[in-house]
């Protein structure tokens, strides 16, 4: 069973297809890395290192930006991502 789903070649995040535990090895197609957090099914994890303010790309489209450095295998969610629009940070 596949553990992650990459929706577009340009994406820097993948979707967990199953609950993934911290330390679990992800070895699928050209991807080989260790999950750095517990990641619930449906949540996202970084498939490469993402720098602060860099765009988060899913479906091949920008869905927001990183608010801190994110390493490959880390959980990508509201603690390290903010939308570009309609958020109080951007005025």
């Amino acid at each position: 069973m596949r553990k992650i789903l990459i929706l577009h070649v340009n994406d820097n995040v993948a979707v967990a297809l199953t609950d993934i535990s911290q330390g679990e090895l992800i070895s699928q197609d050209e991807y080989l890395f260790t999950a750095k957090d517990n990641i619930a099914r449906g949540h996202k994890l970084a498939t490469r290192n993402i720098s602060i303010n860099e765009g988060i790309i899913k479906y091949g489209e920008r869905m927001g930006h990183a608010t801190s450095e994110i390493r490959t295998g880390e959980h990508v969610h509201v603690h390290n991502v903010l939308g570009d629009r309609l958020s109080s940070e951007v005025k």
Partner: protein
């Protein structure tokens, strides 16, 4: 064009009903209990209730349009209007007739004299109309008889991968065959509007969708609201959605890849075959009401967290984005698209199942929401309610 398997009710103005309702519609909130009493006494009739009390404010024309459109939806064989006899109520009835409603009964409380009598007369009229409705038969209909509304609510991160793109497959196929399909929820295309604009059949239409979203974004900024906490909602965030743009990119998948034929105002009726976008709020029930008022006659509603929401006059098919929820809330869910995330089925396979389900339900089989009698209704307002009446 392939032969359509659809069998539906042909209305005198040439539109098609997938249901054959006798609707009891109070035109003033004070008549809501009377409408319910008539519905309760007449199995087969349906009533809705609402909170409009004839206020004359910035929303007046919008509310007249919603109630007239809802009353004249082709899924209604007839509508019994209950009124307090005001000019605005008369206007709603006149507009409903202009929009194609053929069987109209108007019961005015001041004219009849008591609510008890109003209910008695209403029951007699509803019973007569139900007998006439039962005499109607379904006949072979073209693909254009399907006017599909696309909706999602309680989204999770699987919505954009399973149920929404699978619904997009079904929508694309119906549009290609000659049906109409309508995407809504302006809140939930914010961040994906450029993708829809690029698919518009003219530059003008593309520009309109960009402007519709910009108008919404400006109104939110003007109100000084920070949408974080509301969009994505707490439930969305628990489900794995991090930003509104992410939710929108997934939500827009419901509309497949078809070209965009036009942008509709809230409750506006799509003019011809094709895919449309309707400017509706992200509120599921206000959105469904706008669809019904825009003469959409069937809805597919994708959901990650599950919801019982239904309509008094449109069948609403629930598609689950994930299998655990589909199993847990099996009395709400008509179809499970979660198998895509498990690698058990392809998008095309689930898309075909949704397409087949739309036809089955269009032809008269009932949805879970219809079986459970879910009749939600909500008026969408733009302004504060100002207490001033025309009576």
């Amino acid at each position: 064009m392939s032969h359509s398997p659809i069998r539906a009710y042909l209305r005198p103005n040439g539109s098609w009903g997938l249901r054959n309702h006798v609707l009891v519609l109070p035109l003033h909130s004070a008549l809501s209990s009377s409408a319910r009493a008539i519905e309760d006494a007449c199995p087969g009739a349906v009533a809705i209730t609402h909170d409009w009390s004839g206020e004359v404010d910035g929303d007046l024309q919008r509310i007249i349009r919603i109630l007239a459109g809802f009353a004249s939806n082709p899924n209604n064989f007839a509508t019994i209007f209950l009124s307090l006899g005001s000019a605005n109520e008369e206007e709603i009835i006149a507009q409903a007739e202009n929009l194609g409603l053929a069987n109209v009964v108007h019961l005015s409380l001041p004219h009849i004299g008591s609510t008890k009598l109003l209910i008695d007369v209403g029951i007699r009229e509803a019973s007569d109309l139900l007998v006439r409705a039962h005499e109607q038969i379904r006949i072979e209909a073209p693909w254009s008889a399907i006017v599909l509304g696309l909706e999602c609510g309680g989204s999770d991160a699987l919505s954009g991968i399973t149920a929404n793109p699978a619904l997009g497959v079904a929508s694309d196929r119906l549009v290609e065959l000659g049906a109409m399909s309508v995407l809504g929820e302006t809140t939930e295309i914010l961040g994906a509007e450029h993708l829809l604009a690029a698919r518009a059949i003219t530059q003008d239409i593309g520009q309109r969708i960009i402007e519709t979203v910009a108008r919404y974004e400006k109104s939110i900024n003007y109100e000084g609201i920070d949408l974080r906490g509301a969009q994505p909602s707490r439930g969305n965030i628990e489900g794995g959605l991090s930003t509104l743009e992410e939710k929108s990119l997934g939500a827009a998948k419901k509309a497949g890849n078809a070209q965009l034929s036009g942008v509709l105002e809230y409750a506006e009726i799509p003019p011809a075959r094709g895919l449309y976008f309707m400017d509706t709020p992200g509120h599921d029930i206000e959105q469904l009401t706008g669809y019904a008022a825009g003469h959409i006659n069937i809805v597919v509603f994708t959901t990650g967290r599950g919801t019982p929401t239904g309509s008094a006059i449109m069948p609403v098919i629930k598609v689950a984005t994930n299998s655990p929820m589909a199993m847990k809330l099996s009395d709400l869910i008509d179809l499970d698209a979660g198998s895509i995330a498990d690698g058990m089925e392809t998008l095309a396979e689930v898309g075909t199942r949704i397409f087949d389900e739309i036809i089955r339900i269009a032809n008269g089989c009932e949805t879970k929401a219809e079986i459970s009698g879910n009749h939600e209704f909500a008026l969408s307002r733009m302004y504060k309610t100002i207490v001033s009446y025309d009576a």
